[in-house]
Structure formats: C-alpha cells, structure tokens
C-alpha cells in the first residue's frame, strides 16, 4: 500500500485584484491543478519546481494544514485534514523557513515536550534523542537557547525534532535553504543513513540539485500546479537535455574562439575578461569534462576552472521550452 496516495488533487485560492480606482475583483488562482502521484514506503522522492509552482501548497495538503479544493489525499492511511493529530504521530515535518522548536528555551528542552506530544514514554524517546544528538553533533549546543543558534545548528535541531518519534514518513520543505556546503552535506548524509537503516520514506522539496542527486532516486517536477515529470533523476536530465558548463580562466588572453579545437558536442558560449575567461557548454552524456579540458589545454594554458550543473529552474524551463511567467 502506498504511503502517500494523491488523486486528482486541486487547490485554488481567491485573491482580490484591483479593477478600476475603487473596485476590486475576485480572481481565482489555481495553485495545484489535479495532480496524481503515489509514493511507496521506503522511497526517497524529490518534489521540485520553480517558486510558486505549487510545491508548498501540496505539502500543506499532505500534512493536513490546508483543505484541498477537490481530490483525494491519503497519507499513512489517514485523511490528513480530519485526522491531522493522528497523522502527526506517524510523520515528521521539517519546514526550512519555520521552527518547531521553542524559541526562548535551551535546545534540549524542546525534546521532552515533543516526546510527550507523541505520547512516548521517557524510556523510549530519551535513547532515541541521545542517538540523534550524537549523529547530528548536537551535544555542544544543547544548552544554548534556540534563538541563539546558528541556522545550521538550528536545522540539525529541527531535523532531530522531526525524527524523534521514528516517523514512517518525513516531509522536508526546503531543509537545506540558507545552509553552507558543510552543513548541507552533513544533513544529507544523515537523512540518507536514516532512510537506509530505518526504511523511512522521504519527500523533500528543494532548489538545490545536489540535494536531489544525493538523496532521491525519483523526482516529481511540478510546474504551474501540474506534474510535469515523474521518474528517475537521470531521466529528467535526458528529457531536458541538460548541459553542463565549464568555465576556464586562461593564463594568457585568447581573443578568438576558433583557436580551440573543441570536440563534437561542446559549444563555445562566450568570452569574458578580455580573453581570459571562456565558457564552454557540453552534453555530459556524450563528452566528459576531461575531454573538454584536454581540448582547451592543447591550445592555451588553463589557470583555473569551474563546472556548473544545470539548476532545477533551468531544467524545468528546458523541459517546457519556455520561460516562466
């Protein structure tokens, strides 16, 4: 039985927009239009899309804090809105932009409250808390009030809070937003280990392609309230014809792109900094970065280089062949 089952789910909002000097007109905005998908236990699914595509609206309906306009949602066997409290004991939710910790109390004081809310006896939540605190390196700031924690520290605390009751399903709404590389990587490692060891189902929204690459085998792309793609991540890149971009800084300026003997499938995109910086895009399925670099180095000395992955907005845009409104 799927852990998340969504059928024909829609949500619309009424907004007022100005019509003339004094009058306002009601306008219906379709945030989510008739989406269908299901997630099996143990899956790790990335739910991606541009800002305003309908990701958060879907998440709110899955967790029962927003009533769908139409359609059917089942999460862990519950109907989220009427059975919100029972559902909350089965799932863990992390809102990257909000906190479920008690702002003016030391971090460690939040967990006894959460344990009690989930009706866990102390003998049950305490060992679990110790385990989470150790895995996520919370020890050094457990007695610091939450309001004084850095964003990275707080997010680790948030994730520990969401996992305290060993939920079957963890929903993460932009968990890595604003984190530095090291904090992001730590969080990803932890979530991946948690899923492997306990079979926890993960559903996460993010704008960071690396989150998806590290954590998810499957992606759902939502665009303008509808599911645009549902399948493996590699497939997404195929569909979208994703290209990587290599940016090289040369030791001496080269003013013409024709001087480079670029292999087939690589395209010279532009010259900057008076001939020092060149960017070359290539299709990673046909060419390796090493081959592109070798072609450039045979002509000029490369002082520095960087590689850029296509970002999610870019992929989604390519998928549709149009810019977002």
């Amino acid at each position: 039985m799927p852990i998340i089952d969504v059928e024909e789910l829609s949500r619309e909002f009424q907004v007022m927009e100005p019509a003339g000097r004094f009058r306002r007109r009601k306008k219906t905005v379709h945030a989510v239009r008739g989406i269908d998908f299901s997630v099996e236990p143990g899956e790790a699914v990335g739910y991606i899309g541009a800002n305003g595509a309908g990701k958060s609206t879907t998440i709110k309906m899955l967790t029962g804090v927003l009533v769908p306009s139409s359609g059917r949602v089942t999460v862990c066997g519950f109907n989220p809105v009427p059975q919100r409290k029972a559902l909350a004991r089965k799932i863990g939710v992390v809102f990257g932009q909000r906190s479920q910790l008690w702002w003016d109390l030391p971090l460690q004081d939040s967990y006894p409250i959460l344990g009690a809310m989930h009706r866990m006896p102390e003998a049950d939540w305490k060992p679990r808390f110790r385990e989470l605190a150790e895995q996520m390196d919370l020890e050094e700031f457990l007695s610091t009030p939450v309001r004084q924690l850095s964003l990275g520290q707080r997010m680790r605390g948030e994730v520990a809070a969401a996992l305290l009751h060993r939920p079957e399903l963890v929903i993460l709404d932009e968990p890595t937003i604003g984190l530095d590389m090291i904090s992001k990587e730590k969080l990803r490692q932890f979530l991946d280990a948690e899923r492997r060891e306990n079979g926890t189902t993960l559903l996460l929204t993010t704008h960071d392609m690396s989150d998806i690459q590290r954590l998810c085998q499957r992606v759902l792309v939502v665009d303008d309230g509808a599911i645009a793609y549902d399948g493996p991540l590699t497939g997404l890149a195929d569909v979208a014809g994703a290209v990587r971009t290599m940016v090289v800084d040369l030791a001496a300026p080269v003013h013409s792109a024709d001087l480079f003997a670029l292999p087939d499938g690589a395209v010279h995109e532009g010259i900057e900094a008076e001939g020092i910086r060149h960017s070359v895009s290539f299709d990673p399925r046909r060419l390796s970065a090493a081959a592109v670099l070798a072609a450039i180095s045979s002509t000029a000395e490369v002082a520095d280089l960087s590689l850029h992955e296509p970002d999610i907005e870019h992929l989604v845009r390519q998928l549709y062949g149009r810019a977002r409104r």
């Binding site: 909002f13 958060s56 709110k60 909350a88 906190s99 479920q100 008690w102 009706r119």
Partner: protein
C-alpha cells in the same frame, strides 16, 4: 495529558527567563495602583466616606488586588496566535499531535503560575504599606479565591483566544482587539467595581462573562461575599468557562477548514 503538563512547565520556564521584564511590569502595576487608589480615595472622601458599599479601605483593597491580579490573570492578553497565523507559523502548531486550544491554554496556565509571585506580590506589599489592605482572616476566601483565579485565568485566556482565532477569517484583528479591550476593561470591573455601575449597565455586565474575569476573584479574595455567595459565583465562572470553550472549539473547527496558511 502529559504533553500539556510539559507545555505548561516549559511556558513557566520561558517566562522565568525574562526577569527584568517581570520587575518592570511589577513596578508599573504598583505605580498605576498608587494613581488609581488615590483617585478612588479622593472620590470616596468627597462623597463622605463610602461609595456603593465600599469604604475607603475596601476601595483601596479592590484597587490593589486588581493590580496584583492584572498580570497573572492575563488581562492584557497576547496576540501570539494571530501573529503566527500572519507569519504562517501556524502550520507548525497545526502539524503537532496536540489539540490547538489545549496546548495554548496549558502554556497560558504556565505563564500565569510564573506571574503570580513576581507580578502579584509587589503591588500587594506597596498597598499594605501605603493604604493598608482589608483582607479576610479566615482561610475560606483564599481557598475559593484560588479556584476562582484559576477559572478567571482560563476565562481571560479563552476570551483573547477567541479574538485571536478571528485571524482565521480576517487578515487583521486589531479592530476586534481594541473593541474587546474597551468592553472587557469596563465590564470586568477593572476600571471601577461592577457594583458601582448604574442598574442597567450592571444587568448588562452580569449577562456577560466579563465580571467573572476579574471582579469575581477580587470580591472573593477580599471577603466581600460570604461562603455560599462565593461558591455560586465560582459556579457562574465555570458555566461561562463551558460556554467559551464550546465557542472556541467551534471556531477552531470551522476556522481551520478555511484557514489559508501564509507563506511558502
């Protein structure tokens, strides 16, 4: 139940971290107590020694008890819930496996428990030193007074919570808030004792839960009512508690259906 106990305890601790605020609040309550007491006392002296059954000493006791209970009873309320609806943080509250009303209620009781001593004692001490207090000598009024305070804290909480819940329907509750404050301050007997109202206003006040929010515990603690009367007044408080609880639960039920959680 355990979760609500933990929430109450955590709220007590949260408030105990703001000690300077408590001291400043107690100072303010005491200063305003002096102003209110001197106004009432000069009125009573002008009127020839008593107004509406209050002697000078009794009027001063009414003022000081009111000032002492002001903070513990939560007479100024808090717009925390409405602010969380505005910011969208209500999503976090609603994704917890506890009853929304009960979790806020438990936290308010924890706050009240902390406020009793640091906010309640200083005005009473100032009152005892400056005007003197007319307090009963038997334990009965204090015992019933304690029950009455608990009921009044809960009534004040539910009243403000209902106003906060309006934010499920409207974006801005400030107007409702102001209206509620004006009506509540008057009808609860905070400005002048309810007994001083003209007949029609007295009847009107008694048809509302407001006197139960302040006048009742003050009267019981000051020993103005005998045992039987006091019990009946606590009974009325509990009745209003049931009524407000039903209203609030209905509001949560229907409101959360149409609540739009703000933000992404």
């Amino acid at each position: 139940m355990h979760a609500y106990w933990e929430l109450a305890k955590s709220s007590f601790r949260r408030h105990s971290t703001y000690r300077t605020a408590a001291v400043a609040g107690a100072f303010t309550n005491s200063v305003f107590g002096l102003i209110r007491a001197s106004l009432l006392l000069s009125a009573i002296t002008t009127a020839g020694g008593a107004i509406g059954g209050y002697s000078a000493m009794e009027a001063a006791t009414y003022v000081w008890l009111g000032q002492a209970l002001l903070a513990p009873l939560g007479l100024f309320g808090t717009a925390e819930l409405a602010n969380r609806v505005k910011s969208g943080d209500i999503a976090v509250d609603l994704s917890r496996s506890v009853n929304l009303t009960a979790s806020y209620w438990a936290q308010d009781l924890g706050r009240a428990a902390f406020d009793v001593l640091p906010r309640g004692l200083p005005p009473l001490i100032v009152g005892a030193l400056v005007t003197g207090l007319a307090m009963p000598g038997s334990p009965g009024p204090y015992l019933l007074g304690f029950v009455s305070i608990l009921a009044a804290v809960s009534l004040n909480f539910l009243g403000f919570f209902a106003i906060n819940l309006l934010s499920f329907w409207v974006l801005e509750i400030r107007g409702f808030w102001m209206l509620y404050m004006v009506v509540m301050n008057l009808l609860s007997g905070f400005l002048v004792p309810v007994a001083w109202f003209p007949g029609w206003l007295l009847d009107f006040a008694r048809a509302t839960p407001f006197p139960s929010m302040l006048q009742t515990p003050v009267d019981i603690l000051a020993g103005r009512t005998d045992g039987g009367e006091s019990l009946a007044m606590v009974g009325i408080q509990l009745l209003w508690l049931a009524v407000l609880l039903i209203i609030v639960q209905m509001m949560v039920r229907f409101g959360s259906r149409r609540l739009v959680v703000q933000g992404g």
